[in-house]
Symmetry: C2
Subunit: 630 residues, 2 copies
Amino acid sequence: MNEFPDTVVRRTASGPVAPSRGALRPLGLDEVRITGGSWGALQELGADAVIDHCLGWMDRIGWIRNFDRIAGTASGDHEGIEFVDSEVYKLLEAMAWELGRRPAAPLAERYAGLVDRVAAAQDSDGYLHTSFGHPGQRPRYSDLEWGHELYCHGHLLQAAVARLRTGYDDELPAVARRLAEHLWTEFGPEGRDAICGHPEIEVALAEFGRATADRRWIELARLFVERRGRRTLGTTLFQGSDYFLDDMPVREASVLRGHAVRAMYLAAGALDVADETGDDRLADAVEAQYRRTIERRSYLTGGVGSHHQNEEFGDDYELPADRAYAETCAAIGSLMVAWRLLLRTADEGYADQIERTLLNAVLVSPRHDGRAFYYANTLHQRTCTHPNADDELSERAEASMRAPWFEVSCCPTNVARTLASLAGYVATTDGAGVHLHQLVECELRAELDAGILAVRVETAYPRDGVVRITVLEAPDVEVGIGVRVPGWATGATLDAGGGAAPASPGLAVTRRIFAPGDELVLTLPLEPRLTAPHPRVDAVRGQLAVERGPLVLALEDVDLPVGVDVEHVELDADAPLVATDDGAQATLRIRVDSDLATAPDGPVPARLRPYADWANRGPSTMRVWIPTAR
Amino acid sequence: MNEFPDTVVRRTASGPVAPSRGALRPLGLDEVRITGGSWGALQELGADAVIDHCLGWMDRIGWIRNFDRIAGTASGDHEGIEFVDSEVYKLLEAMAWELGRRPAAPLAERYAGLVDRVAAAQDSDGYLHTSFGHPGQRPRYSDLEWGHELYCHGHLLQAAVARLRTGYDDELPAVARRLAEHLWTEFGPEGRDAICGHPEIEVALAEFGRATADRRWIELARLFVERRGRRTLGTTLFQGSDYFLDDMPVREASVLRGHAVRAMYLAAGALDVADETGDDRLADAVEAQYRRTIERRSYLTGGVGSHHQNEEFGDDYELPADRAYAETCAAIGSLMVAWRLLLRTADEGYADQIERTLLNAVLVSPRHDGRAFYYANTLHQRTCTHPNADDELSERAEASMRAPWFEVSCCPTNVARTLASLAGYVATTDGAGVHLHQLVECELRAELDAGILAVRVETAYPRDGVVRITVLEAPDVEVGIGVRVPGWATGATLDAGGGAAPASPGLAVTRRIFAPGDELVLTLPLEPRLTAPHPRVDAVRGQLAVERGPLVLALEDVDLPVGVDVEHVELDADAPLVATDDGAQATLRIRVDSDLATAPDGPVPARLRPYADWANRGPSTMRVWIPTAR
């Protein structure tokens, strides 16, 4: 067993992740305020639409009433699958972040009412679950593989962390403490030697330990991480030990595998445990696994987990565009891991990966009105399907349109909590300066070793490449202002007052004594560019994608001549790409076959638009990778 | 309802399929005797190894004992999933064909003993199933979606058909008659309006009706076909109505979709019903569906059903090599459909498809010793895995080695019954002559309208391209001898005694008065050839395959320099392909990357061998489609 190292006492961040150590301290929601631009719009979408949408659905279909049934204030059967409690908890987490960002009485009331109903369902010994352990239900922990009890508990703890980090130690944290005590008794050093089929409890306990300054929860997280990989979970006809990441100890693996969401949540929890226990070997192992995974098992969009079967990773370089599962929640899990690695290492490559993943693999999920979502995210849609009605519960949305709600509805609430905590992923400090990792319109105010540094960031990025940073307040000693130059941005310049100078990818730091009114201007080239796939990705050989800045662009048939779909096009890679207001114009040729009797003979100009925006103009076919003319 | 047309009285074939009408009458196992060559070896493998292997496994793991438990002669719980009865029935079918082909006392004894045990489990009203309807079990027909009761019943009827067609009307046909009476009561015109989640009962009842000359069974098959497509089967989170082919009436669909085995079995049954009821519209609809399926949803090997998820068809042209599911049973289902369409239409394209599918997609399944099998059949294996031990029960064999037995073990017994009835797929007659569809070493003796025509066929095909047909007996009037020239065989010649003359693909017919000793010699070009994928198949764009005659060839890493796997090769498409004794030699270049530090610099000659033979020399990586050098 590892010794508990002395914890470096540092200011607790008010965002989703707060490691005790690491190269960078994240700036919290009290330190970064998103003021507008594209991320501001996302925040508003989350606040105005997504939270309301999730609450309405879960109220309507009885998932909230499940708690009343346990409390004895409602009758009837449990509604939904075993783990719908977790959706309520993820929504509570989203509401807590939102209330922390911008308190509002109506939301606070809805939040408090919902917490009351959850709290009333807690058993006297702290256990809390609406599917197990009560009359007529299966016994507690009788189905560790599939019951998702600890998974649900983890999301409850995460919701409590959000509440604590936004300044309230009230009812939900009290419920969470009672639950954590129960878990300590049940699964702690003196308890049963077992794990949950779906990781989540690990990352949740670690954050709960940080937020409550109680090292027992970190120790319990450590136990769950270390117990994994001994094949104690029963397998099935379809799901082997690797599905559960139970095939080998976390620290012995070389790559993420199995169920992609499970893999990412476990990796995040293992990094938290490693940071809190000083276990660098564990952290290095997870970092190497993640790097290899991104290099060989992630899509251009940042999406991960290519197999529909089991929602699993495929082999290295097995990345079909048309069968890309790329679950929204797996992409969110990838954000969680990349953010932790950025905090640990200060490697801006992780910030690049966060941007790529968020802007493409995550934001493709919500419809523009925030009331329908993709669960799986293909990169190539061959056939149009009918949209789901706005009141229709879907099995899965694998088709060409988003669905309002799902039998397994993990993605909408995951999007909700991510949008509500976006400001927590923008910037960090190393004590000597601030690092602006995401190019977002915001104001930030950080306490450095030398005093307060506050800046305003103005930008229309990613539509425009100019990012203007104005100093609002600064200590009168030398400090640093760093801003990320994305990996794709060859030709970027930074003007720190002395004229534009070339800025290469990575963190461009200006270190001096700043005065209010000082300006830094980063200018990024936003010319559309052709991207070739890795030569070992068989599935898209002979095809090219078009990117512009951080955005992957896509071709939809609604932007093609009537009757032509995306199966009949070839990209003229020699013709120039022309920037448009929201993407690029490329030159295509139409290939005629038995499905397409006639078509324009010559070159056809066609607009490519951001992948994340696709299927917002009715059913369509779509492709990211386009065959090149031969 | 259709009127029953007057049945054309014709000799009943002694093979697996015996339509009352159609362009061609199949020659049965009493008319075609395979005498050697590659098909002869397969027949021996089935007789000597596969049947014994299946019997041994099902005895050992209690699937046969399930019948004793129902009969009250054994105790304990039911072993295996709900539909393991069907494996015993498919094995009984294989044993019946084998006994018909070559009676042998030891096999006859094992067969009779097994039939006794099955018969003892039949309920007094004819129902027969070891998972439903008895004390402690779920009620009969309480789970039509997943219970597979009628599916199992269908395979019992098929086993009885094999027994009847090989000349015995004994215990198993009696059991089957009682079962059919039960089904008529339960599901007939006066019974419940329901269908089974897994088609099979349709094709089985149709053949049983033909074999017993009782039209009630054909009418019941018709009812099951017509009832399908009204969404009466309950769907699940993962399986929609299309999975069950229950999304639209059979006659209204334009392509096969959903679960591939279900789709093929249903199509075969619908064709049988159409032939027996004179419903040409139904037959034409199924033919169009199958043609479109083969054109757009089948692999080069003939394999169908590309999705692992649900074992389903994908979209048109969605044919990933690396995620090819291509279940062995689906390929066998495709043989069943193609054979029926060949009999109906006399279009030799269906015989081409049968050959392609059998020699590549089906025969890849059994290991060379007939004691391990592929269930899913990838066309691209990136990583080596450990072989299953010979006594290890597998979940699925998706890995690089075959497995001896599976929890769902439909494929080994399906291979067994196919190998045992191979002679039934070789030749037909239209009354005026014989058509040799498969180029197999055999003797055949057919009763034509004008009398007996008997020939001997000698060939080492597909290793050698010469097929020699010698007349043994002929009527003294003009008759025809037709032999299929495969679709790929440009440059074939036929020498009917007057010197070699060009023979184009299709049936090459020689019509004259033959005398014993007359010879026809077909010579097929067997040069290896490059095959390009359809331009709309994204997954293998920029790649080529090598074929030789009817065989798809594959590259295995065991034929590459040490340390090089199939991920690092490019095919030099300009270098000549050289024929070898079992395939071809091609010229490759090795592409070096971080996984492969050093490799031969220049061109590397490499042997490609038949796809069906891969992974018979230990674990290996493999690919059919090879990237072309750029």
